[in-house]
């Protein structure tokens, strides 16, 4: 029997649904919206339908957005979308769910564990100190038997402290609050030094040690302290659960991964327990002596740490024969230094833009900036974005690139890429670099262009265009009533390398031409018969389409400051005296385009 729901029932379901439901067509226009969805935008369906839907969507994935909750306060909504057909056209069915409570609950849970952990420390301190004062005989003689019980008490407070520490650590990691200090590091060196620390313990227990490490280094991109923590845990466990035989530690490269194995000939883990080995508070094996009792959190933390490094951890074990724990870390590649922050930004599920700049002659610039040109450019551009109220993460990728993550940004606007170009040039000028710099720049958007870090980076690289080549192909229009002066300017520009230069004798001719094509730069005379330069600027600034066209004013006269100032609401206007010094003209045009 098929489950056919009558049409009006279906309508009523959608109408009454507490989840927001929206249909967005391929032009991002809302074609249908139910009351619950409209409510999240503090609006009514009638007001929103046929209007653009301004949040970036990625079918099959969920993203988060700010919403207005029923109580009027802002909250978080989870957006999901799937491809559907709407009136014969491709469209997206978007559902929005208020997840504010869920996020709040998660945060409360983390805060609670955090607070409890801290609150436990103070009484633990008093207990431990009080007992140890007695045990040490400070308050009077203590018998050997009493000492034994007092040390039991201390051992257990220490154990409790370890649990508190681990619990806090795990909570931080799970909440994504634990920041990794990733750097290029040699895994072999780290493994060797840890093995050295454990060597005496292994020998003391009468166990053999079998270390198999390749001769060359093996670079990974990781937090040394955290990897040390994992290795301490794995090797410590192996020793703890092995009474006779061998502890083995090996590292090898497998398909671009650095794989580290720690194996033992200990008691092993039963088939039944094996799947639970990385769970919290799971403790296996015979009760070992209480002095090195585990917290039941070590393996859970270790696995989380490795996963935070985009690696994986697994275990193989045969009961009564021994266990092998292994983890894999991605081998170091320079790109990881960019992919990592990208991945973290992706996890926040907010749209962002990735801008890239590549310098083609870093060394030449380095001399002029007094070293570290990439870092300095990154900082300059960061400040410029921050002045625009944006949150940015600049990443310098040696030897020649700077990437800038602009968070929570709806940078779909095609103008954002030319803004980057201008910012880059401004940064060069700010650093006192006098010459034209040969650079490429590009942009990729999350989630529109890609949803994986390496693909997004790749997409940004593919988008990169050479600024100089692009600039030389830009269309420059010169408006002047004196043919000789036009010719002089045109000759100079052609000499610089510009290929598309058009000459127009007055304002009316310019606007006639602009019906067909728009200039990328306008070189304008102010004093012209008919329409004056002021009138031309006025008309250009009136229209949204033309207000951003950069203008270079060439004038033999003093500019009438009063009239001029009202147009200079943008940096895209510069003035030069006529006739212009060739070098100044070249730099000005470079700066404006």
């Amino acid at each position: 029997m098929t489950n056919v729901v009558p049409k009006h029932e279906l309508e009523s379901i959608i109408e009454k649904s507490t989840d927001g439901i929206i249909v967005v067509d391929h032009n991002s226009i809302i074609r249908f919206i139910n009351p619950a969805a409209a409510c999240l935008f503090k609006n009514s369906p009638a007001e929103m339908v046929e209007k653009p839907f301004e949040y970036p969507l990625s079918p099959g994935h969920s993203t988060e957005m700010e919403i207005i909750r029923k109580n009027g306060k802002t909250g978080t909504g989870e957006i999901r979308s799937v491809d559907i057909e709407w009136e014969g056209q491709r469209a997206l069915l978007v559902s929005i769910r208020d997840i504010t409570e869920r996020i709040l609950f998660d945060r409360l849970k983390d805060d609670f564990i955090g607070n409890v952990s801290h609150e436990l420390r103070t009484p633990l301190t008093s207990i431990r100190e009080a007992v140890s004062v007695i045990q040490d005989g400070i308050l009077g003689p203590v018998s050997e038997e009493q000492k034994k019980f007092l040390s039991m008490c201390i051992r257990n407070t220490d154990h409790l402290r370890r649990i508190v520490d681990s619990l806090l650590d795990l909570t931080k990691i799970e909440a994504g609050k634990a920041k990794l200090n990733k750097k290029r590091m040699d895994l072999l060196e780290t493994v060797k030094s840890i093995v050295e620390v454990f060597h005496p313990v292994i020998r003391k227990k009468g166990l053999a040690l079998d270390v198999s490490i390749p001769g060359d280094g093996m670079a990974v991109y990781a937090d040394r302290d955290r990897i040390t923590q994992v290795l301490n845990n794995l090797i410590g466990n192996a020793i703890k659960f092995t009474e006779k035989g061998t502890i083995g530690v090996s590292v090898e490269e497998i398909n671009g991964w650095a794989e580290c194995r720690v194996n033992d000939t200990g008691e092993g883990i039963s088939e039944e327990d094996l799947p639970k080995v990385f769970d919290k508070f799971m403790q296996f094996g015979k009760k070992t002596n209480p002095e090195n009792k585990g917290t039941g959190l070590g393996l859970a933390i270790s696995k989380e740490i490795i996963q935070m490094h985009n690696g994986s951890m697994s275990v193989e074990s045969v009961f009564n024969r021994g266990s092998t724990f292994k983890f894999r870390l991605p081998r170091y590649r320079p790109d990881l230094e960019v992919e990592d922050p990208i991945r973290m930004a992706m996890e926040a599920k907010q749209p962002f833009a990735l801008f890239g700049i590549r310098l083609h002659a870093v060394d030449a610039i380095g001399g002029q900036t007094g070293g570290q040109p990439l870092q300095k450019i990154a900082q300059k551009i960061r400040r410029m974005f921050e002045n625009l109220g944006k949150t940015v993460i600049p990443i310098v990728l040696e030897p020649d690139s700077v990437f800038i993550l602009v968070e929570k940004s709806h940078e779909q606007d095609p103008r954002s890429i030319s803004r980057l170009r201008h910012m880059t040039k401004e940064a060069f000028i700010g650093l006192g670099i006098d010459e034209e710099v040969d650079f490429s720049y590009g942009r990729a958007l999350f989630p529109l262009d890609a949803e994986a870090a390496d693909v997004l980076l790749d997409s940004c690289r593919r988008d990169m265009r050479n600024e100089r080549e692009e600039r030389f192909n830009k269309r420059i229009m010169i408006v002047d009533d004196e043919p000789a002066l036009i010719e002089a300017t045109k000759t100079l520009l052609e000499l610089f390398g510009y290929k598309t230069i058009e000459a127009l004798s007055n304002g009316a001719a310019l606007f006639e031409r602009m019906k067909t094509v728009q200039p990328d730069l306008l070189i304008l005379d102010m004093k012209m018969p008919g329409m004056t330069g002021y009138e031309v600027i006025g008309r250009l600034k009136e229209s949204f389409k033309t207000q951003d066209i950069p203008i270079l004013i060439m004038s033999g006269y003093e500019i009438e400051t009063g009239r001029f100032i009202e147009y200079v609401n943008t940096k895209a206007i510069l003035t030069l005296n006529k006739p212009a010094e060739p070098d100044i003209l070249r730099k000005t045009v470079y700066y404006l385009i």
Binding site: S126, V133, L139
Partner: protein, 122 residues
């Protein structure tokens, strides 16, 4: 005999630390809040101050700033104790110029060693 001022709002911790330090031939004075600690530091001129960071009203960090304001107390080394340990806190107190940092719960041998090390530096 070195004179140590211990400031903590938990009387049990004060009591246990006091006994421990006395057993190590140190003279101990105690304060249960920061205002009292500042007054005592000024009047008694201890050789070292052990101070809890989290205390009601005035916290250990602001008390530290106050101590640095008076010539009589500015040179007294301060070791912070805290139940809220972490790399950030440790770095922060080091940057402020504190003589040391100990996380609760601590091992008494470590505590004594730390105090003796700071005293030896003076």
């Amino acid at each position: 005999m070195a004179k140590i001022l211990v400031a903590d709002d938990d009387p049990d911790i004060l009591a246990t630390i006091e006994v421990r330090l006395r057993a190590n031939q140190m003279q101990v004075i105690t304060a249960h809040d920061c205002n009292q600690a500042i007054k005592m530091a000024y009047a008694e001129q201890p050789d070292l101050i052990l101070m809890d960071i989290r205390m009601p009203a005035v916290g250990g960090i602001s008390a530290f700033d106050s101590l640095k304001m008076y010539t009589r107390t500015e040179k007294i080394p301060v070791i912070f104790i805290t139940a809220y340990p972490g790399k950030e806190v440790e770095e922060k107190v080091a940057q402020m110029g504190a003589a040391g940092f100990i996380a609760k719960p601590f091992d008494s041998d470590q505590l004594i060693a730390k105090i003796q090390q700071v005293l030896a530096r003076q």
